[in-house]
């Protein structure tokens, strides 16, 4: 596959975007292509960097209706970007390049733009870095895989597929700082899946309770050192308790 250099949105373009978010939102809503970006923003809009990635394509998935396309896009994105340095992957300006240039049409299609709040909350990092990454239109696709992939297993995306089927299974974990520890996320998700498979039905309220339970444990215990099997057992026991209430 061809390789391309990554880019970051320039500081001046970012400043223009944030200051004129309402006008930019209207332009995104009313333009199928991104030609308007090159007229309205001051040059240089994007700054090329020395890091290279595969020149991937993503499939359009209007309003994310098709879970299988969502899953495939997430894997393609993850595999293409996973070797980039962390400071690039968590940079708002990197994702804005993907949204405004590389994947403009796909990004537009994936989430209905109701107003400036959609752009603020799901294109920019207005709510902070963690929320920006975990709620960003494409960045959340990347992190869903990054936090659940089990590289050592034959079906390494089993947990990824499970959370994409129903994002509630994972969403409550992602805005808590302990979700930076991948082993904790994997252990928690695996336990949730085990319980749901065993009982044959799920209740989305349980996932919020599990996230709270982990935060409560973390008030006295050092979550980072809890082994993956231990956290899985603790969460499975808690899920059982919730099912049997």
């Amino acid at each position: 596959m061809n390789k391309i250099n990554i880019k970051l949105m320039s500081d001046s373009a970012l400043a223009y975007l944030k200051k004129n978010i309402e006008i930019v939102t209207d332009k995104i809503k009313s333009n199928e292509t991104n030609d308007w970006v090159y007229k309205d923003f001051k040059q240089p809009i994007f700054v090329e960097k020395n890091y290279m990635i595969d020149d991937i394509e993503l499939s359009e998935n209007p309003d994310l209706v098709d879970k299988e396309i969502d899953f495939k896009n997430s894997i393609i994105l993850y595999e293409a970007l996973k070797d980039l340095p962390n400071y690039i992957l968590t940079d708002e300006k990197f994702w804005l390049w993907l949204y405004f240039e590389k994947f403009y049409k796909v990004t537009k299609s994936m989430m209905k733009i109701k107003g400036a709040s959609t752009i603020k909350d799901h294109w920019t990092f207005e709510q902070g870095v963690r929320r920006g990454l975990m709620f960003g239109v494409l960045s959340r696709c990347f992190y869903r895989v990054a936090l659940t992939v089990e590289e050592y297993k034959p079906d390494k995306y089993e947990l990824t597929r499970w959370i994409i089927q129903s994002p509630e299974r994972y969403r409550n974990l992602t805005w808590r700082s302990f979700s930076s520890e991948k082993h904790l996320v994997r252990g928690i998700i695996r336990a949730e899946k085990k319980a749901v498979d065993e009982y044959g039905y799920e209740n989305n309220d349980f996932y919020a309770e599990i996230a709270k339970y982990i935060s409560q444990i973390g008030s006295v215990r050092l979550l980072d050192v809890i082994e993956e099997n231990d956290i899985e057992n603790m969460v499975y026991n808690k899920m059982t308790e919730l099912y049997n209430k």
Partner: protein, 304 residues
């Protein structure tokens, strides 16, 4: 991950004595560091404590000690096991971080057991506490370090300023500046921005633009910062922490005056003078350029 003054439901040794429920005991994170552009090495990283009770628990294998490194800007969080011996190094690669990084230390229970000790504060002496596996038993909030990936730009103007359109401004509205970020952003109405682009890109009138826009903005911001520096505890490192663009001011000062900018020299030099010096003293050249245009126009009128 800093604990600060958080309280636990049982005694915890906090290296900050004010927040500790052990009497007069330390729990120190020790290392010597070596920094390059690519990495920060924490050499000989280990813990030290004068708490016999904590050391006995450690030697008996009941507790472990870890260093936690966390960077909220890159959602990085990782723990590294520590011992009380020298020889271990932790390498933090700059690719993983951006901005503030917290390096802290914890001792935690490796199994369930109970604790009771004369080292506790009086309120806790004589009481036995049940500890569960993974419970925290000692903390040190450690240190904060900084990583950045700033693209260095030798041009002072480009490294300090961004000129941006505010589409909500009317053509006759005044410009304004925002300086609490990586760069000083000056917002112009669209029409003024188009005119600025022409002036800025003209070799004859660039200095005019510097005089009209950049010198007054920079001078005003310097005056504001000087007021903050009246606080004894606030120094130029703090200014750089609050306003990343100030690194470029320091670099520009060093190039211009062949000496480092200090708090004293920054407070001494008038703000408008410093602004002009950093921008190449544009007043004189801009007057010369304007006079040349006036002369050319006079000659053209005389010839007609």
């Amino acid at each position: 991950m800093q604990v600060k003054n958080k309280l636990y439901p049982y005694p915890v040794l906090n290296d900050n004595l004010i927040n500790s429920t052990f009497f007069n005991k330390c729990f120190q994170l020790c290392f010597d560091s070596e920094k390059t552009k690519e990495e920060l090495k924490l050499n000989n990283i280990h813990f030290e404590t004068n708490s016999k009770y904590i050391m006995d628990l450690y030697d008996a294998g009941l507790i472990g000690v870890v260093c936690i490194v966390e960077c909220s800007y890159t959602v990085f969080r990782k723990c590294y096991p520590l011992t009380n011996s020298l020889g271990r190094a932790i390498v933090l690669e700059s690719d993983d971080f951006n901005g503030k990084v917290e390096i802290s230390m914890f001792a935690y229970a490796k199994k369930d057991f109970s604790i009771s000790s004369d080292e506790f504060l009086d309120d806790y002496k004589g009481i036995t506490f049940q500890i569960d596996k993974y419970d925290v038993l000692a903390v040190n909030d450690g240190v904060t370090v900084k990583f950045d990936h700033l693209d260095t730009d030798d041009n002072v103007v480009r490294s300090i300023f961004n000129i941006v359109v505010d589409e909500n401004l009317k053509p006759s509205d005044a410009y304004y500046a925002f300086y609490e970020g990586k760069k000083i952003i000056i917002y112009l109405p669209r029409e003024q921005y188009e005119n600025y682009s022409i002036v800025f890109n003209s070799t004859n009138f660039k200095e005019v633009f510097f005089n009209m826009l950049l010198v007054p903005v920079l001078a005003e911001i310097f005056s504001t910062i000087k007021r903050s520096l009246s606080d004894e505890d606030y120094d130029l490192d703090d200014v750089c922490g609050d306003y990343t663009w100030f690194y470029s001011v320091k670099n520009g000062y060093k190039k211009t005056f062949s000496t480092e900018l200090t708090k004293e020299s920054f407070l001494d030099i008038p703000s408008v003078t410093l602004a002009q010096e950093l921008l190449g003293k544009p007043f004189g050249p801009s007057l010369v350029n304007i006079i040349e245009v006036i002369r050319e126009n006079k000659e053209e009128n005389a010839n007609e």
